[in-house]
């Protein structure tokens, strides 16, 4: 069973990994976006780590809802509402249970990913974060490590795609040949889940 501590570790691990990879995310965002994905997410997850440190969160759901709210309040751009919605809706789906099973987490994440698809209007293949998240959720029943690997593969598989959503979509065919920064950061989020599970 996964308790609130596990979810705090997940968020802290995400913050550390986003900080480590911020320059890479920004570099990926440079040719097809506006070169700020790394710095924006780093600002948001640093704030998430800080607020989780300060405010008490006793349930898995509360951890994710607080983290999501914090992202919406600090990131801006499209990433703020999209990542914020992902965590907030996943957290709400977990309810106020003190501990949740991996199956419940999988189900809740699916709800969160659906909410992101609805908010952003993106579907798999549009070259967005969805291309990492959908395969990750599908692989979750096989474990966190499998989900992380699926997310990573999903992110890499965005390279040959033409973007249909977000700022990269304005480039049309010129968006082909670049890995999507949003899918890449989503892969980091899922990798951090595996990291939290490994402790």
């Amino acid at each position: 069973m996964l308790d609130a501590d596990f979810f705090r570790r997940w968020m802290t691990a995400t913050a550390a990994s986003v900080a480590r990879e911020a320059e890479r995310l920004t570099a990926l965002d440079s040719p097809i976006g506006d070169a700020d994905h790394g710095s924006n997410l780093q600002r948001g997850f640093t704030a998430v780590a800080a607020v989780l440190d300060k405010e008490e969160t006793e349930t898995p759901g509360a951890v994710l809802v607080l983290a999501g709210r914090q992202l919406i309040s600090t990131v801006g751009g499209a990433s703020g509402p999209l990542y914020g919605t992902l965590l907030r809706r996943t957290g709400k789906a977990l309810g106020d249970a003190a501990e949740v099973s991996e199956e419940q987490l999988t189900e809740a994440l699916r709800t969160g990913v659906d909410a992101v698809m609805q908010l952003g209007g993106a579907a798999p293949g549009d070259k967005t974060m969805i291309d990492a998240l959908v395969p990750a959720v599908a692989a979750l029943p096989e474990g966190f490590a499998a989900a992380a690997a699926a997310a990573e593969q999903g992110a890499e598989a965005t390279t040959p795609l033409q973007a249909r959503k977000g700022r990269a979509s304005y480039l049309g065919e010129r968006s082909i040949g670049h890995q999507d920064p949003g899918a890449t950061s989503s892969a980091l989020l899922i990798a951090a889940l595996a990291e939290a599970g490994g402790k």
Partner: protein, 330 residues
Amino acid sequence: MKMLINVAETVVADALRGMAAAHPELTVDVENRVIVRRDAPVAGKVALVSGGGSGHEPLHGGFVGPGMLSAACPGEVFTSPVPDQMLRAAAAVNSGAGVLFVVKNYTGDVLNFDMAAELAEDEGIQIAKVLVNDDVAVTDSLYTAGRRGTGATLFVEKIAGAAADEGQPLERVQAVAAQVNENSRSFGVALSACTTPAKGSPTFDLPAGELELGIGIHGEPGRERRSMMTSGEIADFAVHAILEDMTPRNPVLVLVNGMGATPLLELYGFNAEVQRVLTQRGVAVARTLVGNYVTSLDMAGASVTLCQINEDLLRLWDAPVRTAGLRWGM
């Protein structure tokens, strides 16, 4: 790359402190990043709130004041503001007559303003929205996030701001804003990429001797790249791109807008070419504005925006305005 900054992290806050010092007629909340006209809320009048990433100055903070915006929320450089800022702005300027959100069609701006509208309505503030999407360089919205909001934002904010100043009700102000947007089209070109403070190097690689056609305002590349053209050739290309998409029935407002690093000498010369093309195409011009209004940091280049107007919209355009970035008649 040399920049007149301290560190990238404080660029927006530093600019807001300087803006506050230069414009005592504005209330600038540096910490929460909200710029409000000092006399807000204006009793009985609809308020206009806009916002978007920083780096487009004078848009939007420079358009706060009588006759235009009631408040503006600047985000990080090229990053939309967050809902908290928009909610704070709406609460500060709402007189009870409602608030119009002027939103440029970029995914981040749209999502954050949508969330802010929900929060504001929860607090009993009546919100209406107008989405600005004037950029003809984005052709197929099925495969994109839809047309970007660029130069027409200035026309929408000025004309709807005048309608609000006249005391028109929220639905009417929203309708005027939507009408201006529907009748506006823009096209932009870049002669150089811009450099964001956070990245410190040009956002895309544009070799000497080439230009980008069909750019937006965030340092993203455009729809195609060509060998450098003359001002006259660029004007032909831009105006034709717009007129392929719109056949103006009325005289038009013309905005020849600099992207940040193109001197007025070049912009006025470019405007001469734009006016030549319009004359050749039989398009009558009612008013022309030339300058840096919707910029993209230090990007060299320009955009053209046309808005077909009628007598009512022209009267609202000519109405007095007093802001840091646009000022006439008062």
